[in-house]
Symmetry: C2
Subunit: 354 residues, 2 copies
């Protein structure tokens, strides 16, 4: 296994479209590749949620290498330019997948390692998330994992934990009226102004956990009032996204956000559209050892990732991948080729040394 | 012609669906009814825009009775309850049409009168409006009109002129970012807050014209930011509707509104989506005489109507109809039956006495 083959593997991955919900062809390729390169590995499961392959080593800690197969950008023919590989999902997270698969092949006789490739991660509610589905299918497998590495794009740094994410659907009622006679109505958007102004005025609240900084932030992402072009709107509706540091329980965070919003507009209706709890940081000597061996910088994951699902199972897990965070979801997404090389080398060397 | 027949005629009109753009069947009925009841009348034109019928009297001032055939609510079987007639467009303005048609029949030998029934009035840009189309088809006919009565719903009062209406499409740019890392972006809705707050704070500005009060008002009707549920929005877009009294030129009003909006958010892009100029009040002895003869109360039309098209042709025109303003566009629209009777009687008596 050499640099050429990791690049070659990435080319093959990027050549197969895998938009969220249509990952079958990519999964079939990955399964065939692993079974060909790691003939002694065992396919633990392959369902609509993804696949899990375990190598034949059963001594020492069991390390899971984890990645999702789906990508956000529309597919385009991959190409190289100026040391970058362009392709749909290059950074998020086809480069990570190529590196994890390469590591599986390189480590197949050395340490106890498995590969989880799952479907439907992007913009997917937790109950439809492929990793969540796999957890229900093979719970015993997950119970045996000692440490998980999720290769989401982190610019080759290690990112610990993850913030929680609550989406509130907030509706502020008004009274419709003809737009030429506004005194007959009560403008819903104007009634929401104290809330919008308060959201605009607040600053991120920082929390230092195990030496890294998370931030609580709450903002309107989508909003609309659309009763008609000649109508004073009778409702303003918004999606408010609350991201909170892994220092609160999911219950407390959800209630805090709800109360905060309600305080500004007592007449608002507030529903929770989705809530992905934060990924707590677990004390773990394997994790500490691995992080120290890599020598790369460590920071907080200021986003939600499936590290939270491992935390919920009490499995130490980190975000660590070769993709660029800023490239994620861009229509012309790329990854820096040398980053994949560096990542694969540090990952395999550090895992061998644990 | 008696009260029963006006009610009977309204039943027939309400039995035929005529949503905007699909008025053919109703127009055919109206044409047949007029030709049957007023055998000496002349069909001046019948196009995709509507129809015009003139009676055979050619002495004295020429009065045009004007109504649109289209309705907003979804069609439903008309019925009576508690002295009200329920039906799609009952108040806006099928009752007015029934009364105008009845008046045409009653006045056919008395005064010079014509009936204009046109298509596509509701929510239609001026260039697609049926009355606008008829103006292009028979300009000489319009030049000969001395006074026009538009039977839009006015609660049996007379409403003079009409406010102008400009729809501005306002776009405030921001910079998108992941909603967990808002400091990477610039929130478009928050950047629009000075404008939204200023619109919420302003009061109507009144103008007294020929003894009636018009009001300038400007408000957001529709608005949205929708870059994604996990994205700080990179654009906020709104429809701002400016209604202005008939005391400004269309040019001045449009520029004033644009400057006012721009002043609050210098980075905003402002486009005029639609502009229907105000209907100016014209000095007219025929109009004054008619208004005095009716004895009904007189007020300003705080909405836009096709009276503005007559004003643009320098033809005195008023809004005067039996429908209830507050019932217009309601899904279960009704008209008070006795109002139609009162209206038809006052209209015909006053026109005979001019």
């Amino acid at each position: 296994m050499n640099r050429f083959s990791a690049m070659e593997l990435l080319t093959q991955l990027l050549s197969i479209p895998s938009p969220t919900g249509s990952e079958d062809q990519k999964l079939a390729f990955i399964r065939n590749w692993i079974q060909s390169q790691c003939p002694k590995s065992e396919l633990l499961c392959h369902t609509v949620d993804g696949l899990i392959v375990k190598n034949s080593v059963n001594q020492g800690p069991h390390i899971a290498l984890v990645g999702h197969a789906d990508v956000i950008p529309n597919w385009f023919d991959p190409y190289d330019c100026d040391g970058k590989r362009y392709g749909a999902g290059a950074s998020d997270m086809q480069a990570g997948l190529a590196a994890l698969m390469t590591a599986m092949a390189m480590l197949q006789k050395d340490i106890s390692v498995s590969l989880i490739v799952y479907n439907r991660e992007e913009n997917t509610p937790l109950l439809n998330n492929g990793l969540y589905g796999l957890r229900q299918t093979v719970p015993d497998y997950f119970n045996a994992i000692d440490f998980a590495i999720v290769a989401e794009p982190t610019n080759n740094t290690i990112q610990l934990g993850c913030v929680g994410s609550v989406h509130y659907t907030v509706t502020v009622p008004g009274v419709a009226a003809h737009s030429a006679r506004p005194w007959d109505g009560d403008h819903a958007l104007y009634k929401a102004l104290p809330l919008i102004q308060a959201l605009a005025n607040q600053s991120p609240v920082s929390h230092t956990v195990m030496g890294v900084d998370f931030f609580d932030v709450m903002h309107i992402t989508e909003s609309q009032c659309a009763t008609g072009k000649t109508t004073i709107p009778d409702a303003w509706q918004a999606n408010i996204n609350y991201r909170y540091a892994p220092v609160y329980s999911a219950y407390d965070a959800e209630n805090y956000g709800r109360s905060w919003i309600q305080n500004w507009v007592p007449t608002a209706t507030i529903d929770v559209a989705d809530h992905a709890p934060a990924g707590k940081l677990l004390k773990s000597s394997i994790c500490d050892t691995f992080v120290a061996l890599t020598g790369v910088s460590v920071e907080a994951k200021q986003a939600w990732t499936d590290v939270a699902q491992f935390a919920a199972m009490n499995i130490p897990a980190i975000n660590y991948g070769p993709g660029l965070t800023a490239q994620a979801h861009r229509p012309d997404e790329y990854v820096v080729l040398s980053d994949i090389d560096i990542y694969t080398r540090i990952l395999t060397q550090s895992l061998r040394a644990i």
